[in-house]
């Protein structure tokens, strides 16, 4: 993961549309349902992007992976939108690092719920992120220095606008589906609102039409942790050769708690002590005493080695800003009036970050607008993280929905079932 900020400087690959899946040449056989060894392409856009904030991003690069084959009608494309800390590497095995498996590999692949035997799946790293697309660590063409604190603020709508240009690049007029979980679900919903004629199906998982005060509160704690780290240097730490690693690690620890349910943490850690004294006694100090502390510290420290602090700030702020009903007096149904896509929503019962009630608000608004909507509320114990985990019911709903999309588009029938449902 060392060259995270480097790839942007490589020449963008604008070769004809083809799967970026390299033929498997590794000695180990591929796991069933894997898209195989994958490598990203970097696509440069020179047309300035006018952002919601009024600022302009003069040019940018998007890191992209694709799986499957775009059909002649270009009707079978699925866009996968990522959440806070993920990337374009949605599925498969990274060509750089065989241990780097895509973040939604259980969902996307040949025979999986999002079946790459039939669909052309696009994973895109959003601008502002730190996995190859233009972000705060990239070079500002105006100064020749890293953008740092000068990188413009972003919104979900800005990302969608950039993704729409990516669809243009592939010659895709209408996406068969846009799909995402959490912040990715916000992007899917935003697609349906802002580009209604370009998205046939919208799949919004474990998401919300707006952050609550509690959600914003957690984000603000994370941001203060980063900003108050002395190594943050006002956001220009790249120039000082520093990284606000402690602040970023604490931010991640806070975030991580919100992804898990209380029950899940009780089962995983309970009050188990990390390495108690011989008689089982406490150490009576501030070093790690409980397993949960050890786990959170490990997660935070690991995260701080590969994620960019400015990206964390930008993305949490974009989360805070998302509120499509804001321009309609808080009336979500009116905000969703342009939506013409068929919408599937999924929520998880123990997700207290974006609880089922938030998804139901979207369902209610779509019903009010007489739009087609399907809603599954999965009774799963794993909190917000459940959208990334193996749950047969959840995957069966997604698979069933995609099989319907395939039938509507007259795509071939599913030829195999792999992954969670195998």
């Amino acid at each position: 993961m060392a060259e995270l900020f480097a790839p942007e400087h490589s020449a963008p690959d604008i070769s004809p549309i083809a799967a970026t899946v390299a033929p498997a040449q590794t000695q180990a056989p591929l796991p069933a349902g894997s898209v195989g060894v994958v490598s990203p392409q970097y696509i440069a856009f020179n047309e300035p992007l006018r952002l919601t904030s009024g600022q302009v991003l003069p040019e940018y690069v998007l890191a992209v992976e694709t799986y499957g084959t775009l059909n002649a009608e270009r009707s079978n494309a699925v866009l996968i939108c990522h959440a806070l800390n993920a990337s374009h590497h949605v599925a498969g095995i990274s060509s750089d690092n065989p241990k780097d498996i895509g973040w939604w590999d259980n969902m996307v692949g040949p025979g999986k719920a999002v079946d790459t035997d039939r669909f052309f799946v696009i994973g895109v790293n959003n601008i502002g992120s730190c996995f190859g697309s233009t972000g705060p660590a990239s070079i500002n063409p105006a100064t020749g220095e890293p953008w740092g604190a000068a990188f413009p603020m972003l919104t979900v709508e800005d990302w969608v606008q950039a993704q729409a240009r990516l669809a243009d690049y592939f010659g895709i007029r209408k996406l068969a589906a846009v799909m995402g979980g959490s912040l990715g679900g916000m992007q899917a919903l935003s697609w349906a609102i802002t580009c209604p004629d370009r998205v046939a199906h919208c799949i919004v998982i474990a998401s919300t039409p707006r952050l609550s005060a509690q959600n914003i509160g957690f984000n603000e704690v994370a941001r203060r942790s980063i900003i108050s780290d002395p190594d943050f240097c006002g956001g220009d730490y790249y120039a000082h050769g520093k990284v606000p690693r402690h602040g970023l690690a604490v931010a991640r620890m806070v975030g991580h708690i919100t992804y898990l349910s209380d029950d899940d943490m009780a089962v995983k850690f309970g009050r188990t002590q990390r390495s108690p004294n011989g008689n089982g006694d406490f150490h009576y100090g501030y070093d790690v005493e409980f397993e949960v502390e050890s786990y959170l510290r490990y997660q935070g420290e690991k995260f701080s080695t590969y994620f960019d602090a400015n990206t964390y700030l930008l993305i949490t702020r974009a989360l805070d800003y998302f509120d499509p009903a804001r321009g309609h007096g808080g009336d979500l149904a009116r905000a969703l009036e342009p939506v013409s896509a068929d919408v599937l929503l999924v929520s998880f019962s123990t997700d207290w970050r974006f609880p089922p009630a938030r998804s139901r608000e979207i369902v209610r608004a779509l019903l009010k607008n007489k739009r087609p909507v399907t809603y599954a509320e999965i009774d799963a114990p794993h909190g917000h993280d459940a959208f990334l985990l193996d749950d047969r019911r959840y995957h069966a709903v997604i698979q069933g929905y995609y099989d319907r999309i395939a039938a509507k588009l007259a795509l071939p029938e599913r030829s195999q079932t792999t992954g969670v449902l195998a």
Binding site: L344, R393, V397, D403, A407
Partner: protein
């Protein structure tokens, strides 16, 4: 595995009758829609715009596969997701007898749609009386449960339901009664195992 599940070949007589009371191209809400059989039938034969509510995971998955717009929810929590008079017809098929809040769900049905259709097992079916006279709770085709494991907590007869409907100002427009797949026209209060009512909402 097939990508799409076609409309079922055989549809129960009571569902066919329910379908006959629903206008083509109207908006239908099916409460406790199961695997989406009725809605898929209505979509294919009457071109209705349908939505279903269902709690069971496997049924929700089956309904999604059928291309039915299904919303996973416990009906006991009410119909807060739906606006007043949002549908032309709301259907509650063989579920009323297992609901805790019988009056509430009927009021909610009248709130969200112009017409309601309700079916339930007829407790007045004469063998039930015979069973009780011989000292046992009835166990029959429409009610195949023992007294201790039955989900049916609010059983009623035709007259009982008609009294409740009247008290809620639900004007009954149609009644059909069945015994298995056979429609019962003579002495339905005694001879039918299943009653299907259509009523008009006072809010229409």
């Amino acid at each position: 595995m097939t990508a799409a599940i076609a409309a079922p070949r055989h549809v129960r007589a009571d569902l066919v009758r329910i379908a006959s009371w629903i206008d083509p191209r109207s908006r239908v809400l099916d409460l406790g829609c199961g695997d989406g059989t009725l809605l898929a039938y209505l979509q294919n034969n009457k071109d209705v715009v349908g939505a279903g509510v269902e709690l069971n995971d496997d049924h929700v998955i089956a309904a999604v596969r059928r291309g039915v717009q299904v919303i996973q929810q416990n009906l006991e929590e009410g119909l807060a997701l739906f606006d007043d008079q949002q549908f032309d017809t709301v259907v509650l098929s063989q579920t009323l007898q297992s609901m805790h809040h019988t009056e509430h769900i009927l009021r909610e049905m009248a709130r969200v749609a112009h017409y309601g259709i309700v079916s339930f097992p007829n407790f007045g079916y004469w063998p039930h009386g015979w069973s009780i006279l011989s000292g046992r709770m009835p166990v029959t085709g429409e009610m195949p449960y023992q007294w201790y494991d039955t989900p049916n907590i609010h059983l009623c007869t035709l007259k009982d339901f008609e009294d409740l409907a009247a008290s809620l100002n639900l004007r009954i427009t149609h009644l059909a009664t069945f015994n298995g797949d056979r429609e019962i026209k003579v002495l339905p209060g005694w001879r039918s195992t299943l009653a299907v009512y259509r009523f008009e909402s006072p809010n229409k």
